[in-house]
């Protein structure tokens, strides 16, 4: 090990150098504290043996300066002192000396004290190395996190692109929605589309769980639930018009067959699928374990549709119900996911379906876009603090 010997007495300097050499240490010498500091700043020496009484800067001062400066490594310091009074020991320790050897020193004693110092230095170096490794690991984690975040944002983009575009128009209807994922990617998704000249289909679904796995299933389902031939929504038939539109109950049935839960992921989902026929002014709807849809007639009459039903994917034998209701001009239908009624206030009170229903009835004369905005605001006020813990999704449809 390289040792810096600091002493203004050349005899002691030579003696120490010789002894340390005999123990196979490399020796660098300095005549006083000032020189010693300069050397420590230039060369990465970690072990210092210094006399106490020296001109320019004594051993005590050198000690202070070493401890108070940032030399980038721990430096082990042994003070040589002819002063063995207890006070001096205390001053030395307070200044930060690691050990003392009384002059004239005993060779054997010096040897073991140096050994002890070497052990402590090894510990310090280990610590420094560990810290460096930790910092590296931290940096890697940070980078990975950034990467994951970027990916999640990309995922969120994909999901948003599957939703109806902001300027979406459905002839004969007013449509409005609110979509606030709790994290970047959502387990909720919805859509509306023209099925044929008279019929409009729509759905809102909620995949159990959070994060990427749920989002991936929601994207898959969204791609499948497109009104193209051979999808669950439209199937081919021989002869004109070549395809038929599946009933809501059959759509849910088919999805239930196609997407059974895997034991390890337990990814079931809840859903509402409905079809409005503008010609017959009827709404047909099939619920799949989803919170009841809220129907508010133009006159303000409230009907809850789909009060109890099974989620999709849990049991292959599930039979799905169908509800029918008249859907005329001014009537409104609201689909939503449970993030809304289950939104908790700071006092742990849920927003609740009742509250939601009474608001929607209260606002039945408000233009539809304003209703979704007002409900969003009401929820934020209810929540009382930033960030929702679940996806908030609301889809509103009004017959013109």
């Amino acid at each position: 090990m390289r040792i810096l010997v600091v002493d203004d007495d050349p005899d002691i300097q030579r003696l120490l150098a010789r002894i340390l050499h005999s123990w196979e240490h490399e020796v660098v010498t300095a005549n006083n504290g000032q020189e010693a500091l300069a050397i420590l700043e230039q060369t990465p020496i970690r072990f210092v043996i210094s006399d106490w009484m020296m001109p320019e800067m004594d051993g005590l001062e050198l000690c202070h300066r070493i401890r108070n400066s940032d030399l980038g490594r721990y430096i082990y310091l042994i003070l040589l002192t002819a002063r063995d009074a207890k006070n001096d020991l205390i001053h030395g320790m307070e200044a930060g000396a690691d050990d003392f050897v009384v002059n004239p020193f005993n060779r054997g004693e010096l040897k073991v004290r140096i050994r002890a110092g070497e052990r402590i230095l090894a510990l310090e170096q280990n610590l420094e190395a560990q810290n460096a490794r930790l910092q590296q690991a931290n940096e890697q984690v940070r980078q990975a996190y950034e990467c994951i975040n970027r990916d999640l944002e990309a995922g969120a983009e994909i999901q948003r692109s599957l939703l109806p575009p902001p300027d979406f128009k459905l002839p004969g209807f007013n449509v409005s929605w609110s979509f606030s994922p709790s994290a970047l990617v959502a387990g909720d998704i919805f859509n509306l589309f023209q099925l044929d000249e008279q019929q409009v289909g729509f759905y809102l679904l909620d995949v159990a769980g959070h994060g990427v796995p749920s989002a991936m299933l929601s994207v898959t389902l969204s791609r499948i639930l497109s009104p193209i031939p051979d999808s669950p929504l439209k199937y081919r038939i021989p002869g004109s018009p070549n395809y038929a539109i599946a009933t809501p109950a059959n759509v849910l049935k088919e999805l239930n067959q196609r997407f059974p839960v895997q034991d390890d992921t337990m990814q079931y989902f809840t859903m509402v699928y409905g079809i409005v026929n503008r010609a017959t002014q009827t709404l047909t709807l099939s619920p799949g374990g989803h919170p009841p849809s809220i129907f508010v007639s133009a006159k303000g009459k409230l009907t809850l549709l789909g009060l109890s039903s099974m989620p999709i994917g849990l049991w292959p034998e599930t039979e799905f119900e169908t509800e029918h209701i008249r859907f005329c001009s001014g009537d409104r239908l609201y689909l939503y996911s449970d993030g809304i009624p289950d939104c908790f206030s700071p006092d742990m009170e849920p927003y609740s379906q009742d509250r939601m229903v009474s608001r929607l009835v209260e606002w039945r004369k408000k233009p539809l876009e304003e209703v979704t905005g007002a409900l969003e605001q009401d929820l934020r006020k209810w929540r009382g603090r930033d960030g929702f813990s679940d996806d908030l999704t609301l889809l509103a449809l009004e017959m013109i």
């Binding site: 005899d11 002691i12 003696l15 010789r18 005999s22 009484m53």
Partner: protein, 103 residues
């Protein structure tokens, strides 16, 4: 016949000894001159150095003399210093060194 004083010194210090003893002979002269000027500071420092180095090299007697000189200088005891320096001079004349390998 004068008494010789035998001192056993670690063999690995052998080449340093002549210079060390020469420095101590110089110290004798320096201290005597300093006494004349009453420069007790210098005397005290030399005593302190001698005290520290002596035993390290293997000359316990030099450490003892150094201690006496350092203490005496603090209280300006010229006579004690003179005596101590005389002892040192005598010691340096009579010392015989036997080098032995370290254990």
């Amino acid at each position: 016949m004068e008494e010789r004083i035998t001192v056993y010194i670690d063999a690995d210090l052998e080449d340093l000894i002549p210079e060390f003893l020469e420095n101590r002979r110089e110290d004798v002269e320096t201290i005597r001159a300093a006494l004349g000027r009453e420069d007790f500071d210098l005397i005290g420092r030399l005593g302190h150095s001698m005290k520290g180095a002596g035993g390290g090299y293997g000359f316990d007697a030099i450490t003892d003399i150094g201690r006496v000189i350092e203490e005496a200088a603090k209280t300006y005891k010229s006579e004690e210093i003179t005596t101590a320096v005389a002892s040192l001079s005598l010691y340096l004349d009579r010392v015989d060194i036997v080098y032995e390998e370290a254990e």
